[in-house]
Amino acid sequence: MNAVTNVLRLDGVDRSFGDRRVLRNVSFDVAAGRMTGFVGGNGAGKTTSMRIILGLLSPDAGQVSWRNAPLTRQARRRFGYLPEERGLYPKMSAREQVIYLGRLHGMDASAARRATDALLDRLGLAERGDDLLETLSLGNQQRAQVAAALVHDPEVLILDEPFSGLDPLAVDTVVAVLRERAAAGVPVLFSSHQLDVVERLCDDLVIIADGTIRAAGSREQLRATYTVPRYELVVATDAGWLRDQPEVTLVDLDGARAVFDLAPGADEQPVLHAALARGPVRAFRPVTPSLTEIFREVTQ
């Protein structure tokens, strides 16, 4: 697949429900081969955006394009979708309905069967695959749901909260499967409110709040953009002298350990030299902000 053209792009998407504007000029890219985390609070517009991508809702303005062309129904059939509110047929077995969904996505019977068996095996559901869905545990139902989204080897994956309801081991299994798909060149967009999971997984990040995109880009880029440079210094004795150091704002001081921010554009090396001049330095490192901190900052 071509990484340059295989981009899913939302461009100036607006959507209202009645008088309530849910999305306002929403634009972002989901690039080929990358896991794009989509984060935002409840009601921020994640699910609405995903439904618009899947054609379940139509945008009031703006458009969604795939490979530089407006999305068509035919193209969408090659997408994989895991809806926010889960559900498959309660009275069918996981295997039977995953095969059925594969066939609805255009696979022939034997290809759908092969793909289903391979996926259920991979997701650890092979043994319970012939049980009626309603008799499976919630975690196993969730695995079946993941299989349903992946069975037809989709060109694009749109996953709304794919990890909710999974135990940590199952999260790892699903993550491994999704990474494989991404490595094969598939753009993967997944939403989550578990920021630690997103932090661990995503290559790119889109942050939405109140229907507007607050930040979008690669994880490193966002970290660089949205926080002042912060450092941690551990010396042998007391680090209180940092208070008088130019261009330094102390964030936290605990005896020999200090966390400080540098003024924008300032160089961190003079601080290190100053510390070395006063005695041994045990540690000196940049503190990268957690996703939670970035999220708080951009959504405020």
Partner: protein
């Protein structure tokens, strides 16, 4: 994949799931048993001559009348046989006919001289048959369209309630979902009706006495196409009703109008089945035509062209209701949060691209 292929996949799933459903299998079996019982049992039950106890003196005349005569020693024994329930009646000296609580007509007539009788309308139907046949047709259409209609609505709601509809709509055109469901429901309902019809015909062949089968055959033959289009008409309403609600528990709120649309014609046909003017009107109204027109054919009231006209009216109505039902279905299918008003569904601008 084309819409046709998608439709076939959807229909195949619906049928596969239904054929595994125990309730469906039991209800089908139940209908078959009723059909067999209704056609086989009455002739068997009413069949057989009355048994009568008599002394040897009066036995000859009774035997000649084809009665089952049990010869007893004396009148006391004859009376005792009646009291014990061994025989239906007894003939004692007089002659006097003894019976428990009902005068045994065939014994009485065997002992009487009847005046000659000339029937002016020898083809007229047995009143019991004349009542049962309309009832059977109306009941069959009513129960089948109601049962299968509700099941189609439930299947629509199940997909909304479980949200699987979001995956389906992202994969196939909404019309393929709708068509698949309607086709599956219609095939199952028609299949059940045909099985019931076959059971009834087989039952009548087995016990046929008065040429009832020949009388009924054209009515049954016409009933099938009328049933087909009548069912599509009702099913389209059920699809729309199902799409308006998001949870199975809420189906009561939307099902009443659809149920009335089937129930009122059912009662009208039952009550007016001996009123030719009313039946003529009912046989052209789309909701009652599926039962009323085959009945008029059965009773011989309808001219040859009438079922064709009525069928055409039904077909056009079913087509229009189907188009409206499809629009409501499309307009409300993805509104999975609570009840959608008919107005909202109708005017929904959500066109899935």
């Amino acid at each position: 994949m084309s819409t046709t292929q998608a439709t076939a996949l959807v229909a195949a799933r619906e049928i596969r799931v239904k054929l595994r459903d125990r309730t469906f299998l039991i209800s089908t079996l139940f209908f078959l048993l009723i059909a067999a019982a209704v056609t086989v049992l009455p002739p068997l039950l009413s069949g057989g001559p009355a048994s009568v106890a008599a002394t040897e003196a009066s036995a000859g005349k009774l035997r000649a009348a084809g009665l089952d005569v049990r010869v007893v020693a004396d009148d006391r024994a004859a009376e005792q046989a009646v009291r014990d329930g061994d025989v239906d009646a007894a003939v004692v000296a007089g002659p006097v006919v003894l019976a428990m609580d009902e005068a045994p007509d065939d014994v009485v007539s065997a002992l009487s001289t009847a005046p000659p009788v000339r029937l002016l309308d020898p083809d007229a139907l047995d009143p019991l048959v004349a009542f049962l046949v309309p009832f059977a047709f109306a009941f069959l259409f009513f129960v089948t369209s109601q049962t299968f209609g509700v099941q189609i609505a439930q299947s629509v709601i199940e997909e909304k309630q479980t949200r699987v509809v979001e995956i389906l709509v992202a994969a196939v055109p909404v019309r393929a979902l709708l068509a698949g469901k309607l086709i599956a429901g219609t095939l199952l309902a028609l299949g059940q009706i045909i099985l019931v019809a076959l059971a009834a015909v087989a039952g009548m062949r087995f016990t046929d006495t008065g040429g009832l089968l020949e009388l009924l055959a054209p009515a049954i033959g016409w009933f099938l196409p009328f049933f087909l289009f009548g069912f599509v008409l009702v099913a389209a309403m059920w699809v729309a009703a199902g799409a308006l609600v998001a949870r199975l528990e809420d189906i009561g709120g939307v099902s009443t109008p659809v149920q009335l649309a089937v129930m009122l014609p059912f009662f009208a046909v039952i009550f007016f089945n001996d009123n030719p003017a009313a039946m003529t009107a009912l046989s052209y109204l789309p909701f009652s035509a599926p039962t009323a027109m085959p009945l008029r054919l059965f009773t011989g009231d309808a001219a040859g062209w009438e079922p064709l006209v009525s069928l055409a009216v039904l077909l056009v109505t079913a087509g229009a209701v189907l188009a409206a039902g499809a629009r409501v279905y499309e307009g409300s299918l993805l509104r999975t949060n609570g009840r959608t008003s008919l107005r909202t569904a109708w005017r929904s601008r959500e066109t899935v691209a």
